[in-house]
């Protein structure tokens, strides 16, 4: 290989590059040869390894499907119970609980995120303590605590004004809502906080400069822009919540899994009913994923350049 002579090659990067492999004789290809090379057909590389891997995976998958098809599963029973009233009732309860617990969680998340960023140290410590407590203990334990609250406080309310017996108030629904909602709030608070911090401080200053109060600034300017950062993780948490509601089966909340269990205790078709429940969870989660995608798109507005932007077009006006 001849080394590149700087004087001769000045202004011609191509000549330096081509010395790597194109010249058979050790000399650079001539202008004609380069033209010929430029006309050759391009053959994409065949990724043989990937095809082999894919084939192996396909075979394994076929074996798994075959095993389930031949296994002792009465698919007729799955079909029979898929839309059974008890299952559909459980489905409604699962969806209702997901919506209620998530709403409570998001509301608490916003409140505690704002408290966490307060200039007042007492408020900050309270927010920190809430997040610490509810993130630091298992969810199932929190549910059991709420459900058994009557053991600590036989009655709830303001003495002499409103009082209810805890056992009557703390139904499986209320206990599940408090357990899931308060737990979710602790996680969502962290998500909200990072979302709020992601909004440039110039936005807050601009809002102040037109006379907006802190609350109005948060609601109109900061939160809508924080949504872009908040929606993806919260979307994931909604999906987790759908599945977390199944934990409430331990305190007799009649969601899908609980109702599927009630049925299989009676007919002993355990796997079939678990498949029914799994199918419904997958359907709900798939729908939510589609919704999440749409929501992310709508909150991304103003964040991307669109077609007709011509920078500096208005210079003539100056």
């Amino acid at each position: 290989m001849r080394s590149a002579e700087p004087g001769r090659n000045a202004g011609s990067r191509g000549e330096i590059m081509e010395q790597n492999n194109l010249s058979r004789t050790g000399l650079a290809p001539t202008r004609g040869e380069r033209k010929a090379i430029a006309n050759l057909e391009i053959v994409p590389r065949r990724h043989l390894g990937r095809w082999v891997t894919a084939a192996v995976i396909a075979v394994l998958l076929a074996l798994v499907i075959k095993a389930f098809a031949e296994g002792d599963i009465a698919w007729g029973v799955v079909a029979e119970f898929f839309a059974a009233p008890a299952i559909l009732f459980g489905l409604v309860n699962t969806v209702v609980m997901t919506i209620c617990a998530m709403s409570l969680g998001i509301a608490l998340g916003v409140v505690f995120a704002v408290m966490y960023m307060s200039p007042n140290p007492v408020i900050r410590v309270v927010a920190w303590g809430y997040i610490w407590l509810f993130r630091g203990t298992p969810l199932i334990l929190q549910l059991l605590l709420w459900f058994n609250l009557a053991l600590v406080f036989p009655t709830l309310g303001i003495p002499g004004l409103i009082e209810v017996r805890t056992v009557e108030f703390m139904t499986p629904f209320v206990a599940t809502l408090l357990g899931l909602g308060l737990n979710q709030g602790a996680y969502t608070a962290e998500v909200m906080r990072s979302g709020i911090l992601s909004v440039d401080s110039g936005q807050t200053e601009a809002a102040k400069s037109i006379g907006m109060t802190r609350l109005l600034t948060l609601r109109r300017i900061v939160l809508p822009q924080a949504m872009r950062v908040i929606i993806p993780p919260v979307g994931n948490e909604v999906i987790s919540m759908v599945k977390l509601t199944s934990i409430a089966s331990v305190i007799q909340y009649a969601e899908i899994l609980r109702n599927a269990q009630t049925i299989y205790y009676a007919n002993a078709r355990v796997i079939e009913l678990l498949i029914v429940a799994a199918g419904w969870y997958l359907i709900v989660v798939t729908l939510l994923q589609i919704g999440q995608y749409q929501l992310e798109r709508s909150f991304a507005k103003g964040q991307t350049h669109r077609g007709n932007h011509k920078p500096g077009r208005a210079v003539e006006n100056a």
Binding site: A206, A207, G211, M212, L216, R306
Partner: protein, 254 residues
């Protein structure tokens, strides 16, 4: 003799060890275009931020017309106003920021109507018509539906000026409005500012554009290390300053 639009009296502000403002006093008459020049870190922007109360002052007083800003007198003490009261005072001054700070999730028109609608609670139809007129005034009638990310820096800054004007402020503050712009976009923003100055709007402009100061200012202040070094007519300050520091600064900026 009417009171000046802004009176700044012995204002000081300290950030840790840095004395950002050191006993600054300045009076700005109604309709004046007050330019403030000086090296970075001289306290120019801090002075603006004190006037619109993004920073509380440590001592001294700032009046907008006859109203004491940020505090209320109780005997021989000045008590800090509530956040709501300060927000109410801020509506009377408009601010144009170096980095534009347009609300990124709103179109140009939504940026302009946000304050009049949500803060002043004015009727929607009237505010919308006014927004169209304001966009026309800054030469962006065709951009009302554009998001900030779709606009050039110069266009964004002109929308920001329209947003400030929509609040019908008594005073406009400009914090280095052209420093973040590509050189070819500076002219369009300065043109809008020239236009505003000619309408009699009281303006305080922190700027590095000495040409703008020469052409549009009614008074120029040179600041350094938190103090006003000298002030006077633009021709005096920009061509024959008395202080050596001013001369050095203007020589270097040329």
């Amino acid at each position: 003799m009417p009171s000046p639009m802004v009176s700044i009296i012995n204002v000081s502000k300290r950030f840790g060890a840095l004395q950002a403002l050191d006993e600054v006093s300045l009076e700005i008459p109604r309709g004046a275009v007050q330019c403030i020049i000086g090296p970075s870190g001289s306290g120019k922007s801090t002075l603006l931020r004190c006037i619109n109360q993004l920073e509380p002052t440590d001592s001294g007083a700032i009046f907008l017309e006859d109203e004491l800003l940020g505090f209320e007198r109780k005997g021989d003490k000045l008590l800090e106003l509530s956040e709501g009261q300060i927000a109410g005072q801020r509506m009377k001054t408009g601010t144009v920021f170096q980095r534009f700070n347009l609300f990124q999730h709103m179109t140009a028109r939504e940026n302009i109507v946000e304050g009049p609608l949500r803060v002043l609670n004015r009727p929607r139809g009237e505010v919308m018509d006014e927004a169209v007129a304001l966009l026309e005034r800054v030469g962006l009638a065709d951009k009302s539906g554009a998001y900030p990310a779709e606009l050039s820096g110069g266009q964004q800054q002109r929308v920001a000026i329209a947003r400030a004007l929509a609040m019908r402020p008594k005073l406009l503050l400009f914090d280095e409005p052209t420093s973040a712009l590509d050189p070819e976009l500076v002219g369009e923003v300065l043109a809008v500012m020239h236009d505003l100055a000619s309408t009699g709007m009281t303006m305080i402009v922190v700027t590095h554009e000495l040409a703008f100061a020469r052409d549009a200012a009614s008074n120029v202040v040179f600041m350094d290390r938190g103090r006003i070094v000298e002030q006077g007519l633009p021709t005096t300050i920009l061509t024959e300053p008395t202080e050596q520091r001013t001369r050095d600064f203007i020589g270097a900026e040329r």
